[in-house]
């Protein structure tokens, strides 16, 4: 078993796929420098820099995917998808339907997301639930290096558009780039298991749409993705000392949801707490409650999400993003 950092694992899986199949190419702003290790192995034809023109190059990625390439398009932050959503909303997600199922756009959009390092509200959004609203998009949010690499491989093999979200707090690379800037004077609440972990010697795809139970527990099921999974595990440990047994389900894929796993877990525990770093309203947390209710499962329900624009001030940011205390408080209320 090797161990790897989060982004290192993604790049490693990507490199494996690129070595196996010349159709994979990579582009985005600053990609030549940011993915320099891939550049010097696969050459400038396959690892390209772009102008700051997200609409053009993301749209180009979609079209290139329709004509024989398998592009991985990098966007600097998920927040910036605002300038180029058309390519996902009206093109990537709809080609297959529009063509009567005859044409697909197997493009992977690789994009950092998430907060916890003080970059402010226009640079720390999660938006996975927002993306998942659009039929036709697959949305992946890994929480460990092993899943990150495995899901990247799955994304690369998937026959349709995939948004692959890399949480900056888990990413050794992005956290240095945007958070610490090589300072030793700042510290962030980085989940150790998310940042670095064991990975397989050779990558196999982690199946899309399959959740994984990170912790079993009888009293309540915490469902989450990304950093939220680690916050949930932390909370579960705290609650353990209070005699509350909390299970933690890591969705890994936001769309399509692993409905079966969610229903099974909640049916058993009778309590569902969603931890979602994305905005609370009209997103993942609501969808999970619907999925449970639709199955006729009755449960107690609460959610710990981001309700507002994320504040810049670190202390207030830590209150607005889901944290261990808020999760514990939510569960204690559910237990009453």
């Amino acid at each position: 078993m090797r161990t790897m950092f989060f982004t290192q694992a993604v790049d490693d899986a990507l490199a494996q796929a690129m070595a196996d199949d010349p159709r994979f190419i990579l582009f985005g702003e600053d990609v030549p420098l940011l993915r320099r290790n891939l550049l010097v192995r696969f050459g400038p034809g396959r690892v390209r820099g772009t102008p700051i023109s997200e609409s053009a190059f993301l749209g180009a990625g979609v079209a290139a995917a329709m004509t024989g390439l398998r592009p991985v398009v990098e966007i600097y932050m998920v927040d910036f998808l605002g300038v180029c959503m058309d390519a996902l909303l009206n093109h990537a997600a709809k080609v297959e339907a529009f063509s009567g199922g005859k044409w697909t756009a197997p493009v992977v959009v690789r994009v950092p997301c998430g907060g916890g390092y003080g970059d402010g509200g226009q640079h720390e959004q999660s938006l996975w639930g927002w993306l998942a609203h659009i039929p036709g998009l697959t949305v992946l949010v890994p929480s460990t290096p092993a899943d990150a690499g495995g899901l990247m491989l799955a994304a690369l093999r998937h026959d349709g558009p995939v948004v692959f979200l890399e949480h900056k707090l888990l990413s050794e690379m992005w956290l240095e780039f945007m958070g610490s800037g090589a300072r030793r004077t700042v510290q962030f609440d980085v989940p150790a298991e998310g940042r670095k972990g064991a990975v397989p010697r050779r990558w196999d795809p982690v199946p899309i749409g399959k959740a994984v139970l990170r912790r079993t527990g009888d009293d309540v099921t915490i469902v989450s993705v990304g950093v939220g999974v680690h916050r949930a595990l932390e909370a579960a440990q705290v609650l353990d000392t209070e005699g509350i047994s909390a299970g933690v389900l890591d969705l890994r894929t936001v769309s399509p949801l692993d409905i079966v796993a969610v229903r099974e877990a909640v049916a058993r525990s009778g309590r569902l707490l969603v931890v979602d770093e994305d905005y609370e309203g009209f997103g993942l947390s609501g969808e999970l409650s619907a999925v449970v209710l639709e199955a006729g499962i009755s449960c107690k329900y609460a959610r710990v999400c981001t309700k507002t624009t994320i504040p810049y001030a670190r202390d207030r940011e830590d209150q607005v993003l889901p944290n261990c205390e808020r999760i514990c408080a939510g569960i204690r209320r559910l237990m009453q």
Partner: protein, 342 residues
């Protein structure tokens, strides 16, 4: 070397007759939603598409029918798509503004400007897969104000992509005169994005052919993208049923419906001073009047009529071609409508 005019006239006439059939079906209520015809821009499409081969790709706008037809897509399957039949080109899922043919590497979009990124991506595939192929984007002059299209010109330039950006300039974007909405000169704009620009009459199919030939040659030989700027006139206005054109064509029926509320609003207390109101009224009237003055019915700007005039020199050959095409289109129409909806 440019082909014989007749060989370009054929596809243009075929497209014209096909779209006239579409217009009829639309008017009969058999086709739903909006309907943007390409009548009047056939020379631009024909002059370019005639030079495309198997691995060349096309990014089409809301007027994609002519290009698909000329590229060889089965006309019956297009018609059945427009009729919403499950065996239409896209299984009835796409419709008029969302026509796709993977086989012909042709993709449409109803989002103004989206042809830019699409053509850039197609061209990237061509470049990377080293196929010697080109990608063509067709769009209107109004689309040149959409950021993603401008970005795409720049991207094509910096990546040196084998792409043609074909701007079909009819001067209108729905009810707006594009010159009022566009600063500077589009050719200069393209050059300022690193793409050489050529402007020409889009109603003269041979002129189009020449310009496209040079651009395609440039692209195929790795010299990068070209901006082809072709003037044209859309004979049916923006889309079928367009109010501005209805007013022009049936003023007596259409004017009252517009004029009465307009006058009432003009006279209503509260609002601007008379001068401002007059300026507003002038703007409305100017739009109607410039529709009236629009050279739409001047056959000099009709690429089909124009080519035909020249071809009349050999009337017999022309006649036989026209007969053949007319027969084909009526067969197509029959075939599309005949078999009951599956």
């Amino acid at each position: 070397m440019a082909p014989e005019l007749l060989s370009l006239y054929g596809p243009m006439l075929r497209s014209r007759l096909f779209e006239e059939a579409v217009a009829k079906l639309w008017n009969d209520g058999l086709i739903s939603g909006e309907m943007h015809l390409g009548t009047g821009e056939e020379a631009i499409i024909a002059g370019v598409v005639a030079q495309l081969g198997e691995s060349d790709a096309m990014a089409l706008d809301h007027r994609g029918t002519a290009a698909l037809l000329m590229r060889g897509v089965d006309p019956v399957s297009i018609l059945r798509e427009l009729l919403g039949y499950p065996d239409g080109l896209c299984g009835g899922m796409g419709g008029h503004m969302h026509l796709f043919s993977k086989e012909h590497l042709a993709a449409s979009s109803g989002i103004v400007g989206a042809e830019g990124p699409a053509a850039a991506g197609f061209a990237l595939s061509a470049q990377y897969l080293n196929s010697g192929a080109v990608a063509v984007a067709f769009f209107g002059e109004g689309a040149m104000n959409q950021g993603m299209l401008m970005e795409s010109l720049n991207l094509a330039s910096t990546w040196n992509l084998p792409a043609l950006f074909v701007c079909k300039n009819d001067g209108w974007a729905i009810t707006s005169r594009s010159e009022k909405m566009t600063g500077g000169d589009l050719n200069e704009r393209a050059r300022g994005l690193g793409v050489p620009a050529v402007e020409f009459d889009g109603w003269d199919v041979l002129e189009v052919w020449e310009a496209a030939c040079a651009a395609i040659e440039r692209a195929r030989s790795g010299q990068g993208p070209t901006f082809l700027h072709a003037r044209c006139v859309h004979l049916e206005g923006h889309f079928l049923g367009m109010q501005l054109l209805r007013i022009v064509r049936e003023p007596l029926r259409e004017m009252p419906e517009i004029a009465i509320p307009l006058a009432r609003s003009f006279l209503r207390p509260g609002g601007a001073a008379l001068r401002e109101r007059m300026a507003g009224l002038k703007e409305v009237l100017a739009a109607v009047l410039s529709s009236l003055r629009d050279p739409r019915r001047d056959s000099a700007y009709d690429p089909v009529q124009r080519a035909r005039k020249t071809l009349l020199a050999d009337a017999a050959r022309l006649q036989s071609l026209e007969d053949r095409i007319e027969q084909e289109i009526s067969r197509v129409l029959k075939a599309a409508l005949e078999e009951a909806r599956p």
